[in-house]
């Protein structure tokens, strides 16, 4: 569970700056930057200086979050440093500028530190020729099976071939053949012929996950990536290797051969499988989700996400999704109705309830906005409210023991207290004693949390909104089909207090509607509160009302979110 402290980090101590030139343009870069693994300051490299100068240096093995190995040689650049005379003093040109001694040998931009006055040349004929040479070497033994390769469309070999490739090959020798469709583990398939031996996957598994599962065997051009003999590549982060594989060597069993990537619509979203709130990209086409991929956010998940979160999307498209709005006709029987009819009926009923006779069980899988709207109902009706904790085992990397994506949102909006679930016995007792006559349940199956069928049977009114059928939805008097996060917009507050927004990737099925939309109508009918017909307006209204969110705006959250005091 999260701790009640802020996660705003103290600003790093000022780092000495040095001036370098990238392709003739002077830029000031910090002398050191944090090591991707240890965080300790290490000399800034050429590729980092180029990135800060918005100059793209092509690369395969380099990854900003992994240790540098410098094996692909694609990032070779030419460079020069201020010339020193015999007296070790800089030699000056006639115009007073320092004379630059160009290095006779190129350097790999990923590993070579910058030094004051250094000039980096990334677009000379020599550099272009080296890139062409490296690319040719990478392609000679590559199967060139782009038409049936899952990586096609997001492949670095393809991308750099456009820039540095030849239209025809001069290679006439037989290609090296290596294992195909190797079953590395439950989620990963390896095509060794496509592998360019950059070792990103090896370094990720060893240095980020701590699972030294992958390695290279054989020598030279016969080098082959493999899992250690008898070892199955099966940690909770294996699918990240598919993301960082610059080519089509590592593919996801879940995604391979399902969809050409260029047809996928990419939607920025947030993973809902735990309180970490990893930033993701949802890949969808024609209202069907095909994959989740991590989206870089250094304040949350770096470039990674866990396999369990990544594969937890199939429920969104389940056949048994709740799609009908239902209202009661006689005890034990309900009928399909319209949103207007149901919301108006519910509104009338709620307005006529006695204070304290309503209880609300919301879900910490709902958005901040939805929980806030429910909290408005709660105060108007004098209702008891709570939410249901959901816990599992956490790990050192990303997985939080709190499996709810918005526990902090439920707390900050006042739906539950620090100890989530502590009100549930009281609610159960209230129903049992007859004091509570109306129960509003959002996204939870209360029958599994101490409010059994017998208690639900005692209620006058049971209003339930959910996405999939469960014990509670089956007893609902009013059933309001809601939306998965991928079908709506909103924000979550993660374990560290980071408020992050997510966007809509696919349309909801049937009549189901985003909860915040119909909750808005309900809240307006019951309390008269208005003014937030759009998600932007709703968020901004909430930010004005909830102390912790003060100062936030929907637009200001950006793609990466903002951290609040929790």
């Amino acid at each position: 569970m999260s701790t009640a402290t802020t996660t705003e980090t103290t600003p790093a101590p000022a780092v000495e700056k040095i001036k370098v030139k990238v392709d003739g343009r002077e830029i000031e870069v910090p002398k050191t930057m944090p090591d991707p693994i240890s965080g300790k300051p290490i000399p800034t490299t050429m590729i980092q200086a180029c990135a800060q100068s918005n100059v793209d240096v092509p690369h395969y093995c380099y990854h900003p979050k992994l240790p540098v190995v410098g094996n692909c040689r694609m990032c070779l650049v030419e460079y020069g440093t201020p010339a020193l005379g015999p007296d070790r003093k800089p030699v000056m040109n006639a115009d007073g500028t320092p004379k630059i001694a160009k290095s006779p040998r190129p350097a790999i931009a990923c590993a070579t530190p910058v030094s004051p006055g250094m000039e980096i040349y990334t677009n000379t004929p020599g550099v272009k020729q080296m890139r062409e040479g490296v690319l040719e070497f990478l392609l000679i033994n590559h199967p060139l099976d782009c038409p049936i390769c899952d990586q096609a469309g997001e492949c670095k070999l393809q991308e750099y071939s456009v820039d540095y490739g030849q239209s025809s090959s001069r290679f006439v020798e037989p290609k090296v053949h290596k294992p195909k469709a190797v079953d590395l583990g439950p989620r990963i398939v390896l095509d060794d012929e496509r592998c360019i031996l950059c070792t990103r996957c090896i370094r990720f598994s060893k240095d980020i996950v701590g699972d030294d599962a992958l390695g290279i065997v054989n020598r030279g051009s016969y080098n082959t990536l493999t899992a250690y003999p008898g070892k199955v590549f099966d940690n909770n982060y294996t699918l990240n290797t598919v993301d960082i594989c610059p080519v089509g060597a590592l593919t996801s069993k879940d995604f391979r051969f399902k969809m050409r990537v260029w047809f996928l619509k990419e939607t920025k979203s947030v993973c809902t499988s735990c309180a970490t709130g990893c930033n993701i990209i949802i890949g969808s086409r024609e209202e069907k989700i095909y994959r989740y991929e991590p989206r870089q956010n250094d304040a949350v998940n770096s470039c990674w996400m866990c396999d369990s979160g990544r594969l937890n999307y199939k429920w969104v498209g389940r056949e048994d999704r709740l799609t009908d709005v239902r209202r009661p006709v006689e005890p034990g029987k309900s009928e399909k109705t319209t949103w207007n009819a149901a919301i108006n009926e519910i509104s009338r009923k709620l307005k006529s309830t006695a204070s304290g006779s309503v209880a609300i069980v919301a879900s910490a899988r709902q958005t901040n906005e939805e929980l806030w709207l429910l909290s408005k109902l709660k105060s108007k009706l004098g209702a008891l409210s709570d939410s249901i904790p959901r816990t599992g085992e956490g790990d050192k990397l990303l997985v939080n023991a709190d499996r709810n994506p918005n526990t902090n949102g439920a707390r900050l909006t006042g739906i539950c207290f620090t100890e989530m679930g502590s009100n549930l016995p009281q609610i159960a007792a209230g129903i049992s004693s007859g004091k509570i006559k109306t129960l509003i349940v959002f996204g939870e199956d209360v029958t599994r949390h101490g409010i059994g069928l017998d208690l639900l049977g005692k209620l006058d009114t049971l209003i339930v909104s959910d996405i999939l059928p469960n014990g509670t939805t089956r007893l609902a008097h009013y059933l309001l089909p809601g939306c998965a996060h991928a079908e709506k917009r909103g924000t979550f507050t993660n374990a560290k207090g980071r408020v992050q927004k997510f966007m809509k990737a696919v349309e909801p099925p049937g009549d189901s509607r985003a909860e915040w939309e119909f909750l808005h109508d309900l809240v307006f009918n019951v309390t008269g509160q208005d003014g937030f017909l759009t998600i932007e307006g709703l968020f901004n209204e909430m930010a004005k009302d909830v102390p912790a969110f003060k100062g936030l705006t929907w637009a200001g959250l950006g793609d990466g979110g903002a951290t609040v005091q929790i």
């Binding site: 040998r105 790999i108 030279g220």
Partner: protein, 481 residues
């Protein structure tokens, strides 16, 4: 006249000389170590003291000793790069992974006179404040590892090694580590990785310069067997005396491995630069000339990775005259003094001092194909140009030597080779695999072209499809069926 000069191999081949400690001691062994251990701090006029260790390091610098492994880098300078302020232990590794084709000098020392190496190592370790050192020996030299371990045990029992060596208070342990038969383990950072139990992938430099971030990320010195033996002699005779051996900037002696088409292949120790390539091949004291009736065709002067010299090749070398003036002289390949600098000036290198002689019976295309197979087999495969280029060149040469050549293959080979060296790779293997191709094809191009042309003519006669640069078009395949 050129003479053999036996410094390192002074006793090794004497009748009755054995690799045990008693024999070594009878021949004055471990006296230089005793001398080193007895050295006193030297007082300077300004009151500062120079420790014995610093004195030895200075003497090695004065000696001008250059590394005998291949690169010929100044040993004293290498030692001066060692980070002595890190607080981490400093390691010394003897590189005994002698694998360059044509080279068989270190083997002589280790098998016949192991204590000389051990003594050189102990002194080098003492001079560099090293307390743990390794001998990384080529896996194929199984007997060598046994001999060295036996010698180390003897040295320990005589207190030349272990705790409080000769009562000096200095401790040192040396372990023998056997490689598993990979050429790349002779590359110093590949060797270090291997010693750490990993794949011998050479490290990128920067940042992993062994002198700063070597074995277990600690400062590390890696020296060749012969280099370390020389340290013993420098202490015995003084750096200034050692520097009188050989020629300026090319001091001391070198053991030359001479192989190929000469009457007397073998190893010969000479003062560096005091014999020419021609003398080493033809002088009765050395190779004794080519086989009767043969003419010289080519010489690889420094192990198979060195660029080949063609018989009759002439070089313009700058020479410093007695008056200090630089003059340019034309020198025939055979008249090149066998030293570090002349061979570099002539566009090749003395490398591991292995001379491979080829007479006019040599099929130069086959010779290069043979070399290329070796480098394709030994590329570690870590970085792209060497991994892919070494096998590509080997496959092309295999084709050319098996009747599938093309007249254009000479250019084809050089174009591949040109994309490998010059800083494009992590280690010098890129040069090692491409220099032979560049130089063989460059200097004997007509033979490569003729070989390819002959194949083309044969294919034309036999009406066989030419080798296509791209696979046949789909409609062509359809027509064939």
């Amino acid at each position: 006249m050129a003479q053999e000069y036996k410094l390192i191999l002074k006793y090794a081949d004497e009748p009755g000389y054995t690799p045990d400690a008693e024999c070594y001691l009878r021949h004055g062994g471990y006296e230089p170590l005793k001398k080193a251990m007895a050295m006193k701090p030297k007082d300077l006029p300004d009151g500062k003291k120079i420790l014995p260790q610093e004195q030895i390091r200075e003497d090695v610098k004065i000696s001008g000793l250059r590394g005998r492994g291949g690169a010929g880098f100044s040993c004293g300078l290498k030692w001066s790069f060692v980070d002595r302020k890190s607080g981490k232990p400093i390691y010394l590794i003897c590189n005994a992974d002698e694998s360059e084709p044509g080279t068989f000098k270190d083997r002589q020392i280790m098998y016949k006179d192991p204590h000389q190496l051990i003594e050189g190592m102990i002194i080098a370790c003492y001079a560099n404040d090293v307390h743990l050192a390794y001998i990384y020996i080529r896996g194929e030299m199984a007997d060598g590892a046994k001999i060295l371990n036996r010698a180390l045990a003897e040295a320990r029992s005589k207190n030349f090694l272990g705790k409080n060596i000769l009562g000096s208070g200095y401790d040192l342990e040396i372990h023998v580590h056997r490689g598993a038969g990979a050429y790349i383990c002779g590359e110093e950072t590949g060797l270090i990785e291997s010693l750490e139990g990993k794949r011998p992938y050479p490290r990128i430099k920067p940042p992993y310069f062994p002198a700063v971030l070597g074995l277990w990320m600690c400062p590390t010195i890696v020296n060749n067997v012969e280099t370390l033996c020389n340290v013993k002699h420098i202490v015995a005779m003084s750096g200034a005396e050692f520097a009188k051996l050989g020629t300026p900037n090319n001091t001391g002696t070198r053991i030359v491995s001479l192989s190929g088409h000469v009457k007397k292949p073998g190893y010969y120790e000479i003062e560096v630069g005091k014999a020419t390539i021609g003398e080493l091949i033809n002088d009765p004291k050395f190779g004794g000339g080519l086989r009767d009736g043969r003419k010289l065709k080519a010489v690889i002067p420094g192990g198979s990775s060195a660029k080949v010299f063609k018989a009759g090749e002439k070089f313009k070398l700058k020479k410093k005259g007695a008056d200090g003036q630089m003059t340019e002289q034309e020198v025939d390949m055979l008249d090149l003094p066998y030293d570090f600098d002349s061979l570099i000036a002539a566009g090749s290198m003395s490398g591991s001092s292995a001379i491979i002689v080829m007479d006019d019976t040599t099929d130069i295309v086959e010779a290069l194909a043979n070399i290329a197979v070796f480098y394709a087999h030994e590329s570690c495969g870590q970085c792209t140009p060497c991994r892919e280029g070494s096998l590509w060149m080997s496959k092309a040469l295999d084709r050319l030597t098996h009747g599938e050549g093309r007249a254009t293959d000479a250019d084809y080979l050089v174009k591949i080779a040109d994309n490998i060296p010059g800083g494009r790779t992590i280690c010098a293997f890129g040069e090692a695999c491409s220099w032979p191709v560049q130089s063989f094809v460059g200097k004997f191009k007509d033979e490569f072209v003729a070989r390819g042309k002959a194949d083309e003519e044969r294919r034309a006669r036999e009406n066989v499809q030419p080798i296509a640069a791209t696979p046949p078009e789909r409609h062509e395949l359809a027509a064939a069926h």
